[in-house]
């Protein structure tokens, strides 16, 4: 189902469809969110919708840095997140597979997931560290959203539904708006093509066959010299882990007052930290920095690929932005691919 409208029209409508205890998150020009309650004034910046993903990954709405996993129920809670990008939606699929799998369902994650409306938008202007195209992604959402806003021109967006929930909302609140004209669709499709062209051009030095990411990172496991040299500037701050939209590791921190008053926090943890692989008695599964550095790549491109048949890297580029050691995941893999191919030839 599709409609055509302005961003302002969309926000003013969507803001009032849920009541008290529901929150609307609107993007700002500096890639952060403003949290809006249903009766707050809103500041609508259309340009913010056309920017790339937020600084904070989408996971922060479902899997907070620290939250009590035993006491979290909030009455009538609901959140609408506007301006979610394709790379973050793909990462959410990994989180779903971890937290909502058939064996065990994480109740905290499920709570937020069931009470969230995802309103995504295209990326008409990818930036220099964006590389979704290298890992099979597109600069616009393909699925996994409830509603999507595709840019046509100033003051004009195509609103599409991507879920049953989305269908219901369009039917109930947006039926007065026009269906898009053919011209709108052509314009928006052209912008998508231009964005892809930019990504291909910008990342041409790093291009590998999509299947090769798995093969190269797996085959490159033993190339210790590569991993050591790539991780020289790594200071193990864990920034890449924390800001990654698909990194899901956490620690349970027991905080109970007593057995009658139980509290325990689910706290983000990172595989770059020395203590992550430590066991009782002082053993450590990954003692050295290069092993922990390597583990992150193995996790993203080999282990999760084997588990879920998808990469746990979606090309959002946040780890490149955040790294104080100027480590670029694209370059690390490109360099590794050169070493792996040299060995293949020998």
């Amino acid at each position: 189902m599709q409609k055509v409208l302005s961003y302002k029209d969309f926000v003013l409508k969507i803001k009032n469809i849920y009541g008290e205890n529901s929150y609307l998150f609107l993007p700002n020009l500096d890639n952060t969110y403003t949290k809006v309650s249903f009766n707050d004034e809103v500041n609508i910046e259309e340009k913010s919708l056309n920017k790339i993903r937020m600084v904070d990954p989408l996971k922060t709405f479902f899997f907070k840095t620290k939250e009590d996993i035993l006491n979290f129920e909030k009455e009538n809670f609901f959140q609408i997140i506007v301006g979610v990008k394709s790379c973050d939606i793909t990462a959410l699929k990994i989180l779903d597979k971890i937290f909502l799998n058939k064996d065990y369902v994480d109740p905290l994650y499920r709570f937020y997931r069931a009470r969230t409306l995802i309103v995504s938008s295209d990326c008409p202007k990818p930036e220099k560290n964006c590389f979704c195209n290298l890992v099979g992604g597109e600069p616009y959402p393909v699925d996994g959203y409830d509603l999507n806003l595709s840019y046509v021109e100033e003051g004009r967006y195509i609103l599409s539904s991507g879920s049953k929930k989305g269908d219901e909302i369009i039917e109930k609140y947006f039926s007065d708006f026009n269906d898009p004209y053919k011209d709108d669709i052509v314009k928006s499709d052209n912008l998508r093509i231009l964005a892809k062209q930019f990504l291909n051009e910008n990342n041409k030095d790093y291009f590998l066959d999509i299947e090769d990411y798995y093969k190269i990172v797996k085959d490159g496991y033993d190339l210790e010299d590569n991993w050591k040299s790539e991780s020289i500037t790594c200071v193990q701050c864990g920034g890449c882990n924390f800001i990654c939209p698909s990194c899901y590791c956490f620690l349970i921190r027991e905080n109970s007052e007593s057995y009658e008053q139980q509290f325990r926090d689910k706290v983000w943890d990172v595989c770059h930290s020395t203590g992550y692989g430590r066991v009782a008695g002082g053993g450590n599964a990954r003692k050295y920095k290069f092993q922990r550095f390597r583990n992150r790549y193995q996790c993203k491109f080999v282990y999760r690929k084997e588990n879920f048949d998808m990469y746990a890297c979606t090309g959002c580029g946040r780890c490149i932005d955040v790294c104080p050691g100027k480590i670029d995941i694209r370059k690390v893999i490109k360099n590794l691919s050169c070493s792996v191919r040299v060995i293949d030839k020998v």
């Binding site: 996993i69 035993l70 971890i98 937290f99 799998n101 064996d103 065990y104 369902v105 994480d106 109740p107 496991y221 899901y248 590791c249 956490f250 620690l251 349970i252 027991e254 905080n255 109970s256 007052e257 007593s258 057995y259 139980q262 325990r264 689910k266 943890d269 595989c271 992550y276 692989g277 430590r278 066991v279 009782a280 008695g281 053993g283 450590n284 599964a285 990954r286 003692k287 092993q291 193995q298 996790c299 080999v302 282990y303 999760r304 084997e306 588990n307």
Partner: protein, 274 residues
């Protein structure tokens, strides 16, 4: 729906001092319900306000009213646990993971190799096997500890030695003169003396990582195939539910896919023993 992270409360009903830094705790649920598990599965044990850590029960799975866990004092949480008294309350979650595939051991010669406190999960396995000893060709227990003082379940060995079909061999790394009349040396040297038909045998190994590594190498050298070697893997599982990531080893989550693995499953996995 029950919250998967909420522990069940249980009372410490008995504490046995095994060695200077190892105690066996017996727990009973406060609500009087049973705590069923299968041998080799693990539980998450909570000391409220202090921490939670994974342990494998050492009692028989046929005993479901109470559960024994043998614990070495090795960190912050076990330090506090060791100071607790009978009657104190702890939390339990689980059981988690896959235990020993005892059914597959039928009609086989079972070689069990334990190191130090690694005998704890193996005691649970032994107690399981004892219930149906006629189902197995024989059971051989090779147990190594640092010194004679570090042996756990000292009081059980006299009884165990009477069990038909069970052979016991023990070694200590070092000892004072005259205090030990069994083998001296690391546990792998016991394997030179083992008399088993390897073709019809399985080996079950549990102990510190370094011991598991060298025992596996030794077993392969003796002619065991990777699929005949069962290892109880150790990592610091935090959630126990295949989510938190701490126990990942290659694409496996030890808590969900293990903790018992065959060497066949692990041989191509990076960093199996740290």
């Amino acid at each position: 729906m029950k919250n998967i992270y909420t522990p069940i409360t249980a009372k410490i009903v008995k504490i046995i001092n095994e060695t200077a830094n190892i105690k066996t705790f017996t727990f009973k649920r406060l609500d009087g319900e049973k705590f069923p598990f299968s041998t080799g599965q693990f539980i998450e044990l909570t000391v409220f306000g202090i921490g939670e850590a994974p342990f494998t029960p050492s009692s028989s799975p046929f005993e479901t009213e109470m559960i024994d866990v043998t614990i070495m004092r090795a960190g912050r949480m076990t330090e506090v646990l060791h100071s607790m008294k009978e009657g104190d309350i702890v939390g339990l979650r689980g059981p988690y993971g896959n235990g020993y595939p005892v059914k597959d051991f039928k009609d086989k010669e079972i070689l069990i190799i334990g190191g130090g406190v690694g005998l704890a999960p193996l005691r649970s396995l032994l107690l399981t096997l004892f219930a149906t000893m006629n189902d197995y060709k024989k059971v051989v227990l090779s147990y190594g500890s640092k010194t004679p003082q570090d042996i756990v379940y000292k009081y059980l060995f006299p009884e165990w030695r009477k069990i038909k079909g069970l052979e016991i061999m023990r070694s200590v790394d070092k000892c004072q003169e005259g205090e030990w009349d069994e083998t001296t040396g690391v546990v792998t040297c016991l394997l030179d003396k083992v008399n088993v038909n390897i073709k019809n045998s399985v080996a079950v190994v549990c102990g510190p990582p370094i011991m598991m590594k060298f025992t596996t190498i030794k077993l392969i050298g003796m002619g065991y195939k990777p699929e005949q070697i069962y290892l109880s893997m150790e990592r610091n599982m935090s959630c126990g539910l295949g989510k938190c990531g701490h126990c990942q080893i290659g694409s496996y989550f030890i808590c969900k896919d293990g903790p018992v693995f065959t060497w066949e499953q692990l041989k191509n996995i990076p960093e199996p023993f740290e």
